[in-house]
């Protein structure tokens, strides 16, 4: 053992010195408590070690086999979006003091992370119009499950209502988690791409929470204020799953009476990265503060009265409360949430609005330019469900052969929609690129 091994600092002399101080003759002796029967008596059967430049060559070759959004013009969305990540985000995230720290258990050495979390919580509250937010969850799907666990304890009820216009991956995760929570899940079908408030109200009777998504998975704008009111009228927690980057132009859930607002932070300063890591956010009304899952940063003062920040309300958490905790979450997505904060600060309120307006305008242009029938005649944001003349899977294959990924085939998740394609248009898609999509789709016989 010695410094020739990657990332070690001990020289052979050091090893000898350490063993001498410990008072054992060999490194193997340190493992004497490991019973004979459970020792591995051979080297690990894995490929030989690679020097750093070999490693870079090997992994780069793997990366080169992927059709990323820079290589293939992409209109894929369906829960993950090609939004621009400013250089500033990379620069901040490369700061080793932030990158290589852990959960700020010791606040005097963690003021940077704690203040950033506090600023992030504020940004999420401002975006969603809610009073309080946690320091992040894993992604937009698991925070939906978190909201259900919160609702079970807040209401004592066990039914979860989910609109079918909530992203399929979010609904699947909620169903998986609900088993352990002892909760049942009821889904409310859509009518013409959106959720009917009457249907929603009927399903909400006796429910712990009711989750809808704005904009819905098809890109259509839900009658969100009416859905929130329908849930609230039955005593269920109204939970809005929102696209954070829509909130410069779409109303904040807090402004129309939601109890909880959740969502996925991927597009907010986090690259696609094949689906992770990014973050989920969870914000709520003040009265739910002590039921929130996960870390929360709070403001306080030090011994001299100076402002400082700490992790607070920790009696909610697993390391104190164990099986009575509001969640088991420990490691969260802090660095991804900080990327979100940097991005939102880079954008500012005006930039956020412009971003929303640009997505709306590009969506309008795509609607007109593609010239395809819409699945649903509704106002939309960022995504558009269109009907094709042939199966969407076939059209995707043909378009990709021409270097364009035209979108997500909705038949993968919704029965009777094999001819439907969900086209995402973020601010990164130019009108010229939309023209190209239109041409490629036409050539593909769409």
């Amino acid at each position: 053992m010695g410094a020739q091994r990657p990332y070690l600092a001990l020289t052979p002399d050091d090893v000898a010195g350490l063993l001498g101080t410990i008072g054992v003759g060999s490194v193997d002796e340190l493992f004497r408590d490991v019973p004979e029967g459970v020792r591995l008596r051979r080297p690990l059967a894995v490929e030989p070690a690679l020097a750093e430049q070999e490693l870079v060559a090997h992994v780069s070759a793997l990366a080169a086999r992927n059709a990323h959004v820079g290589a293939e013009l992409s209109f894929l969305g369906a829960g993950a979006y090609d939004h621009y990540v400013p250089a500033l985000v990379d620069s901040v995230l490369a700061r080793g003091e932030l990158l290589t720290a852990y959960t700020p258990y010791q606040p005097e050495l963690s003021q940077g992370i704690l203040q950033a979390i506090f600023e992030y919580q504020t940004a999420i509250c401002e975006l969603t119009g809610m009073d309080v937010a946690n320091a992040s969850g894993y992604d937009g799907a698991t925070v939906a499950a978190d909201a259900c666990y919160l609702a079970r304890h807040a209401t004592g009820r066990t039914r979860i209502v989910v609109a079918q216009t909530v992203a399929p991956q979010v609904r699947r995760v909620v169903r998986t988690y609900a088993v352990g929570f002892g909760m049942e899940v009821v889904e409310v079908p859509h009518r013409d791409g959106v959720t009917d408030p009457g249907d929603f109200a009927a399903a909400c009777e006796g429910a712990a929470c009711a989750i809808f998504q704005q904009p819905g998975f098809f890109g259509c704008l839900e009658p969100a204020p009416e859905l929130a009111a329908a849930a609230a009228a039955t005593g269920a927690l109204a939970v809005a799953h929102v696209d954070p980057l829509s909130l410069g132009v779409l109303e904040a859930p807090g402004a129309y009476g939601c109890h909880v607002a959740i969502g996925d932070g991927q597009g907010v300063g986090n690259p696609l990265s094949y689906g992770g890591p990014h973050f989920g956010f969870l914000a709520a009304r003040e009265e739910l503060l002590r039921r929130l899952p996960g870390r929360i940063a709070g403001e306080t003062v030090d011994a001299d009265g100076r402002r400082g920040f700490v992790l607070t309300l920790q009696t909610r958490e697993q390391h104190i409360r164990r099986e009575k905790a509001t969640s088991n979450i420990t490691t969260n997505q802090t660095l991804c949430a900080i990327a979100g904060l940097v991005y939102l600060a880079w954008l500012g309120p005006q930039g956020l609005r412009e971003l929303g307006e640009t997505c709306l305008a590009l969506g309008g242009y795509a609607r007109e330019r593609l010239g395809l029938p819409l699945c649903f005649e509704q106002p939309t944001f960022k995504e558009l469900a269109v009907r094709l003349r042939r199966p969407a899977e076939e059209v995707v294959a043909r378009a990709r052969a021409a270097g364009v990924h035209p979108g997500y085939p909705l038949g993968r998740d919704y029965e009777g929609m094999d001819d439907a394609l969900l086209v995402a248009v973020t601010e990164r898609r130019t009108p010229a690129e939309i023209d190209r999509l239109a041409d490629v789709l036409a050539e593909a016989g769409a």
Partner: protein, 523 residues
């Protein structure tokens, strides 16, 4: 007494505060990442720096017709995001990073968190456009490189675990635990044993274990630790029954001790019809030395951010993959990565995986973290056991150097971490584990984990990791010994620490009583 500890003595010799202005009056700029800075004015919040009309980001604008949001759905009042310039933002986050301590700053022996060096090549690799800009819904033929990497990582993890199949989905160890318990439930149901509701959890377990048990809908059955620091086998024998669903065990335990009775424990639980879950939080001690599968475990979670050196990011992201036995493989969450006969990779979904517990996250895995962990494992190759050997060697060296000044609750060789008790300092001088932790900051070190595990009073849980040099270990041991002496000669100096950090000891009780969890704007 406070005054008697003159300011010249508050900051240990050799750690001179960074001279000069620390932060300008407007809250920008200031000292760079000096390990010891001393208190100073704070950094103004972004919201306090905000000025109407200022902005950083620019966006493309296209000559397109405006599309309006329908009345009633339109945003009524704009969010009060900060209005700041890009230079403001760079300085702000530079100032915040200077007020934070990471592994890059110095020694970070936070027990059970495995704060080792994070190799920088991982950052470069995760940022390759083929990974960073890859859409998770990309068609299979457009993501074979990503799937290949995931497959290779699965093969590596299965070998380290000594088990048959792997899922890379969980975002963190705690999500791995919860998923593991979902697998237990599904497996028991398939065996026709759905009535089993109890999960045995030792009193030394991380709090996540019982919290996960509750979220998975099981009941916790606690078991005690014996006089040698092992799980009390007799108690487990008395507690296992036809109601036992599983045992959750961390091995080495949070005491830093390898459980000498582990074979008997897993045998008892299996004989009673239960499953055995291995919490891999402390796997850094035994990679290539002893495999959980060979210890009798059915399910193992890894913490890639701990054992395989992906950056902890101030609290995350992490990754908590599971390895399982062949019996549990059919229940793994969808999508399941498979290799076809022609060598290509595919993702199987509900239709092909009818027994799956379902989906546990939005997309197949925390991919960027997986890339970094894969790189780390390939950099090590078959010699990985030397990583664990060095980690255990470093921990035992600290144990040897500190055992006379602090109490050692279990007099054994330790594994990758050691748990000491400051009970003697508390009893004799009124200096607690918290005080020792805070005083370590003045010496330029991050404190160890304190007050955990709960079975050790005034616990100091120290995990040096394999990447530290002898010089660093010696400097830390010297500081710990100096603090033990200070506890005798000047206890108030220790009790009032830290003195050399950017803030002094913070009032955590106040933050609970009067919670301020977001910036309050002036009306």
């Amino acid at each position: 007494m406070t005054g008697a500890a003159g300011s010249g003595r508050r900051v240990p010799a050799g750690h001179v505060p960074v001279p000069g202005p620390r932060t300008w009056p407007d809250g920008t700029g200031g000292a760079s990442a000096g390990r010891v800075q001393g208190p100073g004015p704070g950094v103004a919040l972004l919201y306090e720096k905000s000025r109407p009309g200022r902005r950083a980001g620019t966006l493309p604008s296209y000559p397109l017709a405006k599309v309006e949001v329908p009345e009633g759905l339109r945003r009524s009042a704009p969010p009060r995001l900060p209005e700041v310039s890009e230079p403001d933002l760079v300085r702000h986050f530079t100032a915040l990073s200077a007020r934070n301590y990471g592994v890059d700053t110095g020694f970070y022996p936070l027990g059970s968190c495995t704060m080792k060096h994070n190799p920088r090549v991982g950052e470069r690799l995760a940022a390759l456009p083929g990974f960073r800009d890859l859409h998770p819904h990309q068609e299979l033929d457009g993501c074979q490189g990503a799937l290949d990497l995931m497959w290779r990582l699965q093969v590596l993890l299965a070998e380290v675990a000594g088990l048959d199949a792997v899922t890379l989905q969980p975002a963190a160890g705690s999500q791995g635990e919860l998923l593991g318990l979902m697998l237990v439930r599904a497996c028991l149901a398939a065996r026709g044993e759905s009535g089993r509701a109890e999960v045995i959890v030792p009193d030394t377990a991380h709090g996540t274990n019982p919290a996960s048990v509750a979220m998975a809908g099981f009941d916790v059955v606690p078991v005690a630790t014996d006089a040698r620091g092992n799980v009390d086998v007799g108690e487990v024998r008395a507690r296992v029954s036809g109601r036992t669903a599983a045992l959750m065990l961390t091995n080495p335990s949070t005491l830093g001790l390898f459980d000498e009775g582990v074979e008997e424990l897993t045998r008892l639980v299996h004989d009673a019809g239960g499953l055995c879950y291995y919490d891999g939080a402390n796997l850094n001690a035994v990679c290539g030395i002893s495999r959980p599968g060979d210890m009798g475990f059915d399910i193992v979670h890894f913490n890639l951010h701990k054992t395989f050196a992906t950056p902890h990011g101030g609290g995350g992201p992490g990754a908590g993959p599971l390895a399982v036995t062949a019996e549990l493989e059919p229940f793994l969450p969808v999508p399941v990565l498979v290799r076809r006969a022609d060598g290509s990779f595919a993702l199987e979904r509900e239709a092909e995986r009818p027994l799956s517990v379902g989906q546990v996250r939005g997309f197949p895995g925390p991919f960027g973290v997986l890339v970094r962990a894969y790189a780390f494992l390939r950099a090590w190759g078959p010699g990985l056991r030397e990583m664990s050997q060095a980690a255990v060697l470093n921990a035992n060296y600290l144990l040897a150097r500190l055992r006379d000044a602090y109490e050692l609750p279990y007099d054994r060789l330790c594994m990758h971490e050691l748990v000491l008790s400051a009970r003697n300092l508390k009893r004799d001088h009124g200096v607690s584990a918290l005080d020792v932790a805070k005083r370590l900051m003045d010496y330029g070190f991050h404190p160890p984990t304190i007050y955990f595990p709960l079975v050790v009073p005034e616990a100091l849980m120290i995990e040096p990791t394999e990447t530290e040099s002898k010089e660093t270990l010696d400097a830390f041991a010297d500081a710990m010994l100096a603090i033990a002496r200070e506890a005798q000669t000047d206890p108030q100096l220790v009790r009032s620490a830290p003195h050399a950090t950017v803030v002094k000891r913070l009032d955590e009780a106040r933050a609970v009583k009067q919670p301020i969890v977001r910036h309050r704007f002036d009306p």
